[in-house]
């Protein structure tokens, strides 16, 4: 199998079946099994084009996208599937282009209340998917796009979507419950709930370099320590309950997150003012003391 070459911006891709034309605008990302380009259709419709090496992979992902489509779906809406003669885009589908930034990029800049809202939106998106009898399975911060202003959340990469009960097909070790000895690698609501907790931990805790050399039980020990030592105290009870297997579905997780008491802004600002005042007072008194000492030493007073 050879890697397909990357298409240059400005390249036109002509669909064999639909006779539509798409212009490549740039690379949005490289997924587990292909490349996603930003494209514009001949009538100006913006989209994201996923190119895979085989017709089968394209067709299969297309069927997943259609499976999870609908009003309010967290996944991108499917637009078209087609083939072209252009090397590097022989088999592709085009979907809605989702704006926003990956969760891991925006997380450090989000205020505590916004973090809570984003987590709730993620879990609501999963609840919607679970209602269709499918799990996302590849929940990770790179696959969650956040609109910074509104806190709106969408998912990208439907390649992992799997019917409940079937073997998970696409996952990332650091957000995989089986990797940490928490559950089977089988699609279920609980599998996604574990993944959300693992994603939340990974946003704040640094994985040790030797995590991959450890057996699953030892990885789990690290995880529990990370929740105790490195995760924001307000969130600790939620993620601990997930890891203790007390929260097993999206609705229960949503309820638990709703109870997280985030620090409100006013108190935080008050705290900061007080700290700042104390600091300035210390500096002023230090300067005054030093000045007096010098004055005495030089016999000015």
């Amino acid at each position: 199998m050879t890697h397909s070459r990357t298409l240059a911006p400005g390249t036109w891709v002509v669909g064999k079946w639909t006779h539509r034309r798409w212009r490549i605008r740039g690379v949005l990302g490289t997924g587990a099994n292909g490349i996603v380009y930003a494209v514009e259709r001949d009538d100006g419709l913006k989209g994201a084009m996923k190119v895979c090496e085989t017709a089968g992979q394209v067709a299969f992902e297309w069927s997943l996208l259609n499976l999870v489509r609908g009003p309010g779906s967290p996944f991108p809406a499917p637009q078209q599937i087609d083939d072209s003669d252009r090397p590097g885009a022989r088999f592709f589908y085009v979907m809605e282009r989702i704006s926003g930034k990956p969760l891991d990029k925006v997380w450090p800049t989000l205020a505590p209340a916004m973090r809570k809202q984003v987590m709730i939106r993620i879990v609501e998106g999963l609840a919607k998917l679970h209602a269709t009898g499918h799990a996302f399975c590849d929940v990770k911060s790179q696959n969650v796009l956040v609109q910074e202003a509104s806190g709106e959340v969408r998912f990208v990469d439907p390649g992992g979507v799997t019917p409940f009960g079937k073997a998970v097909r696409q996952f990332t070790p650091t957000t995989d419950g089986a990797f940490f000895g928490l559950c089977d690698r089988r699609a279920s609501a609980a599998y996604d709930v574990f993944a959300v907790a693992l994603m939340a931990v990974s946003l704040e805790a640094q994985c040790p370099a030797n995590l991959y050399d450890l057996p699953p039980e030892r990885r789990r020990e690290w995880l529990l320590r990370a929740v105790a030592d490195q995760v924001d105290g307000a969130w600790r009870p939620v993620w601990s309950r997930v890891l203790r297997r007390e929260i097993r579905d999206a609705d229960a997780l949503r309820a638990a997150i709703a109870e997280v008491r985030v620090k409100d802004k006013a108190r935080q600002a008050g705290q900061r003012d007080w700290t700042a005042a104390f600091m300035w007072a210390s500096v002023a008194s230090a300067v005054l003391t030093t000045a007096c000492a010098w004055a005495l030493y030089l016999r000015i007073i």
């Binding site: 199998m1 099994n33 017709a55 992979q57 069927s63 259609n66 083939d83 696409q170 690698r185 450890l214």
Partner: protein, 239 residues
């Protein structure tokens, strides 16, 4: 039909060039002629993975009808799972394509794209139900010393992925080189899960890299396993 079908694969995990025994590319070609797919994971360590090792890894996979990926040690397990899944899918798709050609005179790619999805759902279902016989060949040459714990955990992890499929799994593990003068060593015979204790005891880094003999050994295991299964009843061969 699906209960009787079997997919046979060899997964080679190595960090460099073979330097003992027959040519691994020829060994992979021989295996592929018997309907076995050979996948290769090349591990990039700190500062090694020369041009030659890269080239050899790709040539083995090409001759073996499989895939090749060069990855960091941490990515072995997810890559192994992805490759096994994708190559099983490729094998099944070839079978489905042959059937389509025979019945309709069309291959999947001749169908309109939207209709291919239905074919792929059949492939996906078959993939979940088909029997998988897998031999993992682990390079335990001296240069692998630092990576052996990661590789051991990756093999355990691959088994976690494969055992939740509906179809039966038989997995065997070979280390190369073996102990003393042996080119290869059977770490565990075919079993429905990975014996982690055996992996911990048997994976000791030493000596050269007999990749060719390891592939030949793996192919022999798969073929004799198929013959012993045949005595229990007729099976349909895929590939």
């Amino acid at each position: 039909m699906t209960r009787e079908a079997t997919i046979r694969q060899i997964l080679v995990i190595t960090d460099g060039c073979s330097n003992i025994g027959p040519d691994p590319v020829e060994a992979a070609r021989r295996a592929h002629r018997h309907g076995i797919v050979v996948n290769v994971i090349g591990i990039v360590g700190r500062g090694d993975a020369g041009e030659q090792g890269y080239h050899e890894a790709h040539s083995i996979a090409d001759a073996g009808g499989g895939m090749c990926r060069i990855v960091q040690p941490a990515d072995i397990s997810a890559t192994a799972q992805m490759m096994t899944h994708q190559t099983m899918q490729m094998t099944l798709q070839q079978v489905v394509n042959q059937e389509l050609l025979a019945v309709m005179g069309k291959s999947t790619e001749d169908l309109p794209p939207a209709e291919r999805a239905r074919v792929m759902q059949v492939v996906e279902k078959l993939e979940d139900e088909v029997a998988l016989h897998l031999v993992v060949c682990l390079d335990t040459s001296a240069s692998m010393r630092d990576k052996i714990p990661t590789v051991r955990e990756a093999v355990r992890d691959l088994a976690l992925s494969l055992k939740v499929r509906s179809g039966p799994l038989a997995v065997s593990v070979i280390a190369f080189p073996g102990k003393g003068e042996e080119a290869t060593r059977l770490v565990q015979p075919f079993s429905s899960e990975v014996n982690v204790a055996a992996l911990e005891a048997e994976l000791v880094a030493r000596g050269g890299t007999p990749t060719g003999p390891a592939i030949d050994h793996a192919a022999d295991l798969l073929l004799s396993h198929a013959r012993s299964a045949e005595e229990d009843g007729p099976r349909r061969e895929f590939g």
